[in-house]
Symmetry: D2
Subunit: 406 residues, 4 copies
Amino acid sequence: MAILTPEAILLQRYRAVRSRSLKLCAPLTAEDHVPQPLPEVSPPKWHLGHTSWYFETLLLEPSVPGYRVHHPRYAFVFNSYYETFGPRVARTQRGHMSRPTVAEVLAYRAHVDAAMEQLLQGVLEPRQRELVELGLQHEQQHQELLLTDIKAILGTNPLLPAYDPDGRSGVDLSAEHDGTCPPLDEWVQAQAGTVEIGHAGPGFAFDNESPRHTTYVGAVQLRQALVTNAEYLAFMADGGYTRHELWHAEGWDWLAAQTQRAPLHWQPDPAQPGGWLHYTLQGPQTLEGTAPVTHVNYYEAFAFCQWAGWRLPTEAEWEALAPRFGWGRRWEWTQSGYAPYPGFRRSTDASGEYNGKFMVNQQVLRGASFATPPGHARMSYRNFFHAPERWQYTGIRPARDVAASS
Amino acid sequence: MAILTPEAILLQRYRAVRSRSLKLCAPLTAEDHVPQPLPEVSPPKWHLGHTSWYFETLLLEPSVPGYRVHHPRYAFVFNSYYETFGPRVARTQRGHMSRPTVAEVLAYRAHVDAAMEQLLQGVLEPRQRELVELGLQHEQQHQELLLTDIKAILGTNPLLPAYDPDGRSGVDLSAEHDGTCPPLDEWVQAQAGTVEIGHAGPGFAFDNESPRHTTYVGAVQLRQALVTNAEYLAFMADGGYTRHELWHAEGWDWLAAQTQRAPLHWQPDPAQPGGWLHYTLQGPQTLEGTAPVTHVNYYEAFAFCQWAGWRLPTEAEWEALAPRFGWGRRWEWTQSGYAPYPGFRRSTDASGEYNGKFMVNQQVLRGASFATPPGHARMSYRNFFHAPERWQYTGIRPARDVAASS
Amino acid sequence: MAILTPEAILLQRYRAVRSRSLKLCAPLTAEDHVPQPLPEVSPPKWHLGHTSWYFETLLLEPSVPGYRVHHPRYAFVFNSYYETFGPRVARTQRGHMSRPTVAEVLAYRAHVDAAMEQLLQGVLEPRQRELVELGLQHEQQHQELLLTDIKAILGTNPLLPAYDPDGRSGVDLSAEHDGTCPPLDEWVQAQAGTVEIGHAGPGFAFDNESPRHTTYVGAVQLRQALVTNAEYLAFMADGGYTRHELWHAEGWDWLAAQTQRAPLHWQPDPAQPGGWLHYTLQGPQTLEGTAPVTHVNYYEAFAFCQWAGWRLPTEAEWEALAPRFGWGRRWEWTQSGYAPYPGFRRSTDASGEYNGKFMVNQQVLRGASFATPPGHARMSYRNFFHAPERWQYTGIRPARDVAASS
Amino acid sequence: MAILTPEAILLQRYRAVRSRSLKLCAPLTAEDHVPQPLPEVSPPKWHLGHTSWYFETLLLEPSVPGYRVHHPRYAFVFNSYYETFGPRVARTQRGHMSRPTVAEVLAYRAHVDAAMEQLLQGVLEPRQRELVELGLQHEQQHQELLLTDIKAILGTNPLLPAYDPDGRSGVDLSAEHDGTCPPLDEWVQAQAGTVEIGHAGPGFAFDNESPRHTTYVGAVQLRQALVTNAEYLAFMADGGYTRHELWHAEGWDWLAAQTQRAPLHWQPDPAQPGGWLHYTLQGPQTLEGTAPVTHVNYYEAFAFCQWAGWRLPTEAEWEALAPRFGWGRRWEWTQSGYAPYPGFRRSTDASGEYNGKFMVNQQVLRGASFATPPGHARMSYRNFFHAPERWQYTGIRPARDVAASS
């Protein structure tokens, strides 16, 4: 039996990850690849190009002698936010670009893939292998964004089309709104004391998950079940969106600017006064009461917990207890602001722009979602979004302090 | 020899106009039909749908018993600004819609066309014939917008693609930047006195061209030739964009917010320091000195004239003298604010929303452009845009007062 | 009997105008001199300083050898919009300046007045006398703004204080809301034909009132009485603010952003459900039905006329007929956009910034108001404001076309 | 010797705190009490009124039978952000109010003080005494804001006046820019381990300082000396404001919108090219190299530390080590986002709006500043501001991790 070289293993993985991106876009029309209905959304073809540019720029250009970039302007078109790599299309303008077309972006992918295949058939230095892995992890992150951005594109469209009626994406879409949930009264408990959190290795992790370090967690309980749609509807029915004392001041201001008081992608059910539909990737669906609520922002998650007499966990509490509850269906808001771990040093090269420069004014989310690619989730994973954002598959896990006397 | 009925003539015309819209979009990719890079631009597929909705809503629904709208949501998607016809996608959101796709819009057009064919094979009442004609004139206006919006979509794209390299649109693109021009020192003169302006009939005209009425024009000269690129470059070279005394206060403020001081669609020529290229529908081209300058807004047109010692004509002066000079290559800014003619009454039905409700804070432009559909131009035509807008084929015709003694 | 020299006459007039500005501010507290509650409002002490800076800059500095400016930074503080005279405090920041204090501004006025007294006791060249006159006319314009800006400062204050309970200003405040009005069914008529409009001399006029010139006016009637509060209330009661077909598209958008649907300075009357109070300079008052409505903008004036079956006059119609009706209580919106008269040449020195650079996107208003200083009104006077503005004493005079057959 | 009752002690303290607020405003002109040059600044007379409203609303109205509010509209004028107490003037409009005047606000203070004197001469319940104390602590917080807001009002004025040339405020202004500083190479070190932080009592603390709780701090060093002006100038000279790799992405965007790249209140020194002046409350001063830099925001503090190879401390590190270094001259940015302590419960009455509702998207600052009232500083004090804000006396304390092996 032949033993695979590290490069051969990486090549297999490269092919698997890259082809999955294409599969996610397979159900789309050419037109679906273009718009940017919210500033935080990127057009699908931009995701396809950007993830290729990443390999071209971090690996092929520096590592492959004589490599010629596929198109001299694509670095301008597909750079996301890397100051290191020069000027780029403003983020808010991504949806203004009809060109390169989907076909041209696919040709770009093919060009990059051919060169990467060749590179991966040789012998790489460790740092190069690391960069390939980083590129693949990066592409997997964009696969999650592809699904949420597609949902935003189709879900804000007046026609509310389903994403993948023919099952071409390979994604189990029923998992998005599946109503299976653990009992609502089961909690897991941490005893007060020091714990270790952060990436323990082996295997890949992003820089923001390190160094692994000691921290202290008080006596706390986290609930087995995420907050359900039925629970969230009870909050709404009890005036949750009209009671200022439940909200952050900033959340209250955010609320004043909204036209609808419900999670994103909800809409009034014309067939049932006072009822709501959830626009899912399978089209509008009746809300499943036992499914975990999603598309709530940090303000909403916080207000719900204030109303329920609970609170959101910190990321340390979450990581300490995660082995003891089920997770992976929603990105779970924590009350931890996104900051460097003790001992974290931001790299001074391009990879220093990956995570470190965003460590202010964002909240950490833990877990994963139905849209997270298989194999990409990790207990030490630190996702982060701004408090008002809710186009991701966010959710709420209740936490409660354990009285000292108990 | 058979004599054609009015309906038969209208049907021929209907076919010709409708098919031309499709031809204008023939060179586009599906992706090109989607974006809206400026708030005033509409996506090409929106134009194709909106012009069909217009026939469906004003003619088919009220006139054809049993007519079923093609899709219940298209009225929401394709209504532009008609309060009479209910809610609609916000103008700034048109570029956020990937659906209906181009193919679906074409099916919509086919559905409407089939019903219109049938309608036009019967006998129509005069008001119905008028509405068909209005719908066709409306579609021709959108044909001009299609070309300027396509130019905006492709011309703000980092790849600067040419619109129609294979000549599928049927448009003579060389006319856009053709350098033929009359001598720069030939002027035509009006004697002071009363003149009649406005639509004199017969034939179609928009409501804003009526009533024909008497007005007074002083002794004035208008130049045969429009301002050329060479003249405009001289203005720029003489500090035109840096001398406040040439500008309206509002224009000076507009200028402060610009990153480039040149007409829209100009860009520095990398091959020639200080030189400029003009992005045309054929791609970037060296500026033709003798071609009429275009894509200047009202502020720029005014500042140029201040610099040159001339002024812009009024719309009455323009209409009085138009028979004596060549026009039709650029929409010519006038110093007349867009206001109703004496005796104008805004209709209280939907057609009252066509022109009348825009009669404030816009400038009248006269003439036509290379992008105006054949047969659509008229000496009494009153086009109108906001002072800062310049994505249309605008231009400048010099005027000068004749001293009383001469 | 001694004959007064032109300079002596000018000196008397200088004293009268300058002291009136102080009198207008006499009822104010120091604090009232500071705020800028709307971007278009200037703080009273800024008006007092700016009008002094005007004399200092246009006359004393160039004309008086050895004149020393009162304070080296006041040119920065008190320049309004003159690019010719260099940088200045941004217009929106005027209300951020507590210094110079009222006392310091008064000292500045005294300094300028002393130098002007001296200058006016000598012999001036004609151009200098013109500039003194321009400075006085300029100050009179600011006297009207002082009253409207004071009304804005006090009228947006939660305490709604009266301006001048002790009568220190010398202004007859009852004239603001006096209900005397001519019969509502009396109209004056112009026969169709050419008329002369513009300043005919002798006496002072602003450059924008010249040259006097011929224009043409159709057969039209203007009403003796301005639109009254009672008429405007009837428009409101008939759904005037909810019927899109009465409004400009731009006005309809403006309306969507308003929290209250009534003229500025109106507020619901707590003592009378559905009733309105008018905040006047004497404090909140019950609306006088027969008083001319005021504080309406161009959109409201237009919508009212659409509703009533009338229209707004053009400025030529207004000037042609003004000798035959009473005017002077409100600035009357016309449907004429503010543009140069035929033959107008904008001066290239500072005075060219006075009027000419504003000739775009504003509407001409004719007449005068109760706040206009005595002796400042003129039949050829062209006031101008932006369509949405309504903090001035604006009003509506009905016009209607006379059918050709009549 | 008479023993003072708790009420008598409180009354003495009440008089001392209240009179200090008046003293801080004593050097101001009436006009200085009015403007709001930045949205985060409040006019001085608003501070004077708001702190009185606080006593009136939380104590006098509920506790004193028959108490009549001084003015029925003052609750609207002087409520800051308490949803519990109903509508109020929008924060951005505070600078638009000339009324109540300074004299009227002082009368309001006198009215409240008289009632409070009477109240404090009786016997209070413990909760009432707590509320008096809270009101005094609240007023002390506003005393710090008074000084920073006055600095903003005078420091953005083109005349740059000094605040208190006659020493009427009783504040030692030289402390603002005093250059005394500890040696730059002295650091204090914490051993890794658990620590207790939070208010330990006895004495007053805000709710956000509790509960005292265990947390974990790694091995870290904090520097005795704050970052000095000289050090910050070295950062600037080394391109600190032009090197993206030192900045948060959000900080880099903030920077792009700035016109000057230096701390707030710095301005180019006209006498020394490349040099800077610091506008202080004593007027513009030459920068003292050894004085602690101030008026930097979180982005600047972070970028400086990136450049220097240090980092900002966490609030736990700060509190653990504070007994071992000097503090109190600047509010020191920490890298801790403002979040509730474990076990914190937001009160459901008005006091729940004091701190809890702001616990998102702000950074904790520790220490105190020269503007903090005597006796108001506390080691457990948690101040908080938004990352871009820098009108407070902020500063930077270097931290560095201690390698595990050392």
